[in-house]
Amino acid sequence: MMHNLSVAGLIKGLKNKDFSSVELTQHYLNRINKSKLNAFISVTEDLALAQANAADLKIAKGDNTLLTGIPYAHKDIFCTKGVKTSAGSKMLDSFISPYDATLSHKFNSENMVMLGKTNMDEFAMGSSNENSYYGPVKNPWNLKKIPGGSSGGSAAAVASRIAPFATGTDTGGSIRQPASLCGITGLKPTYGRISRYGMIAYASSLDQAGPMTQTAEDAAIVLNAMAGFDNKDSTSAPKETPDYTKQLTNSLDGLKIGLPKEFFSSGLDEGTEKVVMNAIKEYELMGAKIQEVSLPNSMHAIPTYYIVAPCECSSNLSRFDGVRYGYRCEDPKDLDDLYLRSRSEGFGKEVKRRIMIGAYALSAGYYDAYYLKAQKVRQLISEDFKKAFQSVDVIMGPVSPTPAFDLGSVKDPVSMYLADIYTLSVNLAGLPGMSIPAGFSKELPVGLQLIGNHWSEELLLNTAHQFQLKTDWHTSSPIEL
């Protein structure tokens, strides 16, 4: 069936006229309508069919690009003109964006087809998708389990083949962790690679968008459409973008892979460790050289991240004041009441918690002890990676300490934060990272994490693609939709 095809396969199918974009789009919409996962906040059926029609006309005229007519699911954190953009929050439940994010604009200008907006943890704060105003997403491999977060709707949609690919954002692991837990391929590029314009901000020095796909080859194809300098984003990197599909076929003979000893310590699920070590063996067979590296400060990533990110979020989310857009409380008695009740009623628990941590850590008298200290440790974390990349090309390890856990089973925030241990340091250092399907533990998917030096997306994609040529984990998909 069409839905088992990768994006690369769909491109061929459209080219060979095996199906039209309208047929393809209708097929995915039918699957979405049958889906029980709660992966979407909005399904934009009419818009999708209109876009597919327009794409078919472009294709008939030969006036198309590679991705013209390809359907996708868009994380509901990207502004889409005329379409509700909620960021998973009651605060933006009524927000119809008056403009397009740069990423939305890029996809529109290639005449791609948006199926809808995917569910997510509120303002991308969470690791389980349980913080969404629209209810949790279910893991398609086991409906009692979380899909991971914050891009949980995107991951579940791609895993259950109700969308060929999806967009995600990753501030502390929000692409890689749900990709791992749902058994798909997820790439978080180098900070600054993809424009953040119109991507609702959580922690601006950490947020980065990326593709969530079935395969590394698809991730390369989609990254080509996403990446590039944008004048509208002051943190966008003024740097040439290569064609990410060009290096996929390189041999990995002699590739130096580093395993951080700190990533294989206590707390790592036995089955997960086994999957990761088997994947490493696969790389050895391809001629890669394995060596141990040390990232001593990466173990401080949790306190560092949970200071830096809340500080930035408390500042970013101060824009939600009930005045210009978004939720406003009923009958405010004065301006202070308007701010207080609009924000208290509009934000969910976890968002409020992080805003308060940030407000405290940035407040007079505590700034040096928390924020400044965290920014110094962040430097040390980054230097560890710099040192490691002097002796290795790629760093590998687990993405998440365990496979997907039960919905509702982790109630205290600290336990939830601890599960981010292997992903946070990558964002703090601004590095690119990937998760690729590498096997199963307790009948649930387990991802392998690949971490590269700044701007090494081509090498990461090449390393991931070669693994997928030798294994078929990325082709397994769940029965549920």
Partner: protein, 95 residues
């Protein structure tokens, strides 16, 4: 460092959030649990380490002072909770 309930109320107000009295106990203990994670950082010697302000150590790019955006006042007002002719309406601030 540990927060008491009064401090939690103050921090909430700084961020323009209100906490109901029945939630205060739990919020205080949750915030203190989170802050106890941060104690770990005190053990790291960061004597002469420069704080990391940007993941790529890039400086802020500046642009020429030219008008690049068109006036979309109507579109922006259309999504506001309450508007007057050319402004956003809030409860009276000055009598």
């Amino acid at each position: 460092m540990s927060l008491d309930k009064k401090q939690v109320k103050e921090i909430a107000y700084l961020a323009r959030l209100s906490i109901e009295d029945e939630e205060l106990e739990q919020s205080t203990s949750e915030l203190n649990n989170i802050l106890s994670l941060m104690d770990d950082l005190n053990e790291i010697d960061t004597g002469d380490v420069e704080p990391m302000a940007h993941p790529l150590h890039m400086s802020q790019r500046l642009r020429d002072d030219e008008v690049t955006e068109e006036n979309l006042a109507e579109e922006f007002q259309a999504i506001a909770p309450k508007t007057g002719k050319s402004h956003f309406l809030v409860p009276t601030v000055i009598e």
